[in-house]
């Protein structure tokens, strides 16, 4: 028998074997593919369903919805500006507090800490991320807000009271409390993702800097942080995405007053918390539509922020994979 004939008979055996078991593989592949595609279907349904339900509000107010600040369910006049403002300010405040802490902790855990201490602290950071939002909210109402009212806000008012940010009566609950609780909640995400980005930086980077005589801190700053910069920005954006959509804890401490106020001591309102508070009370299609339009806006913003963040984080990981391969 020639080799050509042998290989022909072998391949025909393979083909017939494939034909015999083909239906099982095809069925299984179809199922798996269907499960994966259901995810895309789900997101599409989400957009269409919410857009449909938000239509009455969009028809009635158009783009005015985004920059007017009257929120009057009785008169059925809705403008989302106070909520957009509250979401942005509370999230920015949270970032101002959380970014330095999160990056610092990530550098500690990935670069500087003694090796034996890294796993337990990493685990604790993961546990902070696992604490349910409503538990943070409970703690915010009964511990954080009174502490801010009695100690922090009077002190801030006395020392920095000339700034419009720190004026007005200390209620405890308000924008400042929301920013702090958000910072506590997003800092573990920023820490965990930044740590992974730093660990993905190839060792050759560190060795090169150390070889040139850099100290450990200089190595971290020049070789590691600069290399991982886009990934670290991605980590911060992931934290921002969390902060924008965080609902329960913020609802419980922000004070829920739909006004645009400069002072951080004043109560505010966010997009997520107005949905949480008023959704079950919305009786008319227009009212419900206005709330769902806020939800749609929140969806769009978080999708953009998260997509950007993912691409940035993947860019560091991807570069590393190419180096290894």
């Amino acid at each position: 028998m020639t080799t050509a004939a042998a290989s022909r008979s072998l391949s025909s055996a393979v083909v017939s074997a494939r034909a015999r078991r083909g239906w099982g593989d095809r069925l299984f592949r179809g199922l798996a593919r269907g499960a994966a595609l259901s995810l895309i279907l789900l997101v599409t349904a989400m957009i269409i369903g919410m857009a449909g339900a938000a239509m009455p509000s969009f028809r009635a107010f158009g783009w005015r919805f985004l920059y007017t600040s009257t929120w009057d369910p009785v008169a059925e006049t809705f403008g989302a500006l106070p909520f957009v403002y509250g979401t942005l300010v509370s999230s920015l405040l949270a970032l101002v507090i959380a970014v330095p802490l999160g990056l610092g902790a990530a550098i500690f855990l990935a670069e500087l800490a003694p090796v034996w201490i890294r796993p337990p602290i990493t685990f604790l950071v993961e546990l902070v991320a696992a604490v349910p939002s409503v538990v943070f909210g409970l703690w915010g109402i009964f511990v954080l807000a009174p502490w801010l009212r009695n100690w922090v806000q009077p002190a801030l008012g006395a020392s920095l009271g000339f700034l419009p940010l720190f004026q007005g009566p200390p209620y405890g609950v308000g924008m400042l409390a929301a920013g702090i609780i958000l910072a506590i909640m997003i800092v573990p995400f920023i820490t965990a993702v930044s740590r992974e980005v730093l660990l993905a930086v190839p060792n050759t980077q560190r060795e090169a800097a150390l070889g040139l005589g850099a100290t450990r801190w200089e190595t971290t700053r020049i070789a590691v942080l600069r290399y991982g910069k886009s990934g670290l920005i991605g980590a911060v954006l992931l934290g921002l995405g969390r902060a924008l959509g965080e609902t329960m804890a913020v609802t419980m401490v922000i004070g829920n007053r739909p006004e645009v106020a400069i002072s951080l001591f004043a109560p505010g309102y966010t997009m997520a918390s107005v949905i949480a508070n008023e959704f079950t009370e919305a009786t008319s299609d227009l009212y419900l539509g206005a709330l769902i339009e806020i939800g749609l806006l929140l969806f769009a913003v978080t999708v953009i922020v998260n997509a950007l963040a993912r691409l940035l984080v993947w860019s560091v990981g991807g570069a590393v994979k190419q180096v290894r391969e």
Binding site: V43, M46, L101, V134, T280, N306
Partner: protein, 268 residues
């Protein structure tokens, strides 16, 4: 600089210690047998418990698991096994983005697809909302864990003449089991504490639930309702509920951690 970064690491975990201390201090006294076996009492009557909420949370998690786990695991299988180049990338991306969508938005989604057609709040709607939250987490961890199974194992099974689907079901999935279970537990820990998507889907219930198409109580919802109410009795119950919830979440997280200790750290 070392000290500064150590300080920030401490600042990140300090709230956890403060929070846990306060929970133990305030809640431990109200966690007793009644808490786990009784229904909530009306305002002004001391005692009572959250039995209905605890059972409700378990039912909601089971519903979410029944809907979300098969889809998530099968989708994860697709991501590892597919030879297509573009679609898996897109699905991975959509999963990661969906994972970042605020849970309250997912609640609105469940409201539009389940509550509006059924014309009432229901356990089913809550289960759907939680399933959507679980799906991307399970999908991505299943994928990552299946990738860790050595190719030689797959090749050996295929060389024995097993069809691909049997190789996956009988060889690859069992090998990756511990890792996949970890993903499942991480997802359960996440949805167990979710409140926002349940506000207008499961809605809450002060009594035992009757059927799956009726509103149902959940532990996080009950904590929220008690926390914003002006009664001291209810605040105590809220602290106790929070203590039970956080203990549940931590135990599940810890179990997930232990299940994959050796393998997981080896990957990193």
């Amino acid at each position: 600089m070392s000290a500064l970064t150590a300080g920030s690491a401490l600042a990140v975990v300090l709230p956890l210690i403060l929070l846990f201390g306060f929970l133990l201090h305030q809640g431990a006294s109200a966690v007793n047998v009644d808490f786990f076996t009784r229904l909530p009492k009306p305002v002004g009557e001391a005692g009572g418990g959250m039995a209905n909420a605890i059972v409700g949370s378990l039912i909601l998690i089971a519903l979410a698991g029944a809907l979300g786990l098969p889809l998530g695991i099968l989708g994860g299988v697709y991501l590892t096994e597919s030879r297509d180049r573009r679609l898996p990338w897109l699905i991975r991306f959509v999963a990661d983005v969906l994972n970042g969508v605020p849970s309250i938005v997912i609640g609105i989604f469940a409201y539009t697809v389940v509550v509006l057609p059924m014309r009432r709040f229901s356990a089913l709607a809550g289960g759907v909302a939680l399933a959507v939250i679980m799906l991307p987490i399970v999908l991505r961890t299943t994928e990552e864990m299946m990738r860790l199974v050595p190719a030689s194992l797959r090749e050996a099974a295929l060389a024995l003449g097993l069809p691909e689907w049997k190789v996956i079901l009988r060889v690859v999935l069992p090998t990756a089991r511990a890792g996949i279970i970890t993903g499942v537990m991480v997802a359960i820990a996440r949805v167990a504490g979710e409140t926002a998507p349940l506000l207008f889907t499961a809605f809450g219930n002060r009594f035992w639930h009757q059927r799956l198409d009726q509103p149902i109580a959940a532990l996080p919802l009950q904590i929220f309702a008690y926390a914003i109410a002006p009664y001291d009795d209810w605040h105590r119950q809220a602290w106790a509920g929070a203590l039970v919830l956080i203990a549940l979440v931590f135990l599940v997280s810890l179990a997930a951690r232990i299940a994959t200790r050796g393998r997981y750290s080896a990957v990193r």
